[in-house]
């Protein structure tokens, strides 16, 4: 693709917001699948975990007695799809008695106000 090419693929800022716990409903798992698709299509993707969505990254998940797939490690696959901007809302963590040490990966922890400003910069906000 040359510099002057105006017909190249467009890149937009997509933010995928996870607000629900990883188990109990399918929103988190299917939300992750949609996020991976956005990354695979080379969009500028950010991922946010807020409200009960922060539980998706909690260390020590054990689904063995439920027959459900433990997909917590799949969040780590986002990086290989070029999705590296992961954010956790500070207030959501604190309200649930969690801290960075309780999470399975290193993410940027930001407060609600900063998150709001980030959201304003997005072209597309996907909420699952």
């Amino acid at each position: 693709m040359s510099k002057g090419d105006q017909t190249g693929p467009q890149i937009r800022r997509f933010m995928c917001v996870n607000r629900r716990a990883p188990y109990g409903t399918s929103y988190a798992l299917e939300g992750l699948e949609a996020t991976l698709a956005a990354g695979a299509f080379n969009q500028d993707v950010s991922v946010v975990f807020m409200d009960d969505g922060v539980f998706a990254l909690q260390r020590g998940q054990d689904t063995s007695s439920t027959g459900l797939k433990d997909f917590s490690r799949t969040w780590g696959a986002l990086e290989s799809c070029g999705v590296e901007k992961l954010y956790v809302e500070r207030e959501s963590l604190e309200q649930r008695g969690l801290s960075a040490q309780d999470l399975i990966m290193t993410v940027r922890i930001i407060d609600a106000q900063a998150l709001g400003m980030l959201m304003e910069q997005q072209h597309v906000l996907l909420n699952f």
Binding site: Q10, R12, F14, S26, Y27, E30, E33, A34, A37, A38, A40, F41, Q43, H123, V124, L125, L126, N127, F128
Partner: protein
């Protein structure tokens, strides 16, 4: 303006699909374009041809089919979400060795790339969910 709609809930259980449909009609009436309606999670059930609501209630599935035929709105059902929930077109039924198919007219089954593409191509993407 070009709007694309993401519908995350099935018919009747949630009002999300109704709201999305009302929005689509209002937008079209006001001269806007609906780029695509993408159905995800339980939203895939909006494409079930077998839905049979009581006659004194609105027919959510048929309303979507009519929107597709009258205004050429592109209705896309996510393939992964659909297969889990048992929404299949004729081709999928053959491929998956199912004894029936149930996709309503006006809908097509495709991948999450269609969701990404509509986000790229439309001016605003709206999410209708719980």
């Amino acid at each position: 303006m070009k709007f694309s709609l993401l519908v995350n809930e099935g018919p009747y259980q949630h009002q999300a699909s109704d709201t999305a449909w009302h929005f689509a009609r209002a937008a079209i009436e006001a001269g806007h374009e609906i780029t695509r309606v993408f159905f995800y999670h339980d939203g895939v059930h909006n494409g079930s041809r077998l839905s049979s609501p009581p006659t004194d209630d609105r027919n959510v599935v048929v309303r979507w089919s009519e929107l597709a035929s009258t205004h050429e709105v592109d209705l896309v059902i996510c393939v992964a979400a659909a297969e889990r929930r048992g929404i299949v077109d004729a081709a999928a039924a053959r491929r998956l060795h199912k004894d029936a198919d149930n996709l309503a007219p006006g809908f097509r089954i495709s991948g999450l790339g269609q969701l990404v593409q509509m986000g790229v191509e439309s001016d605003r993407l709206l999410v209708f969910g719980d």
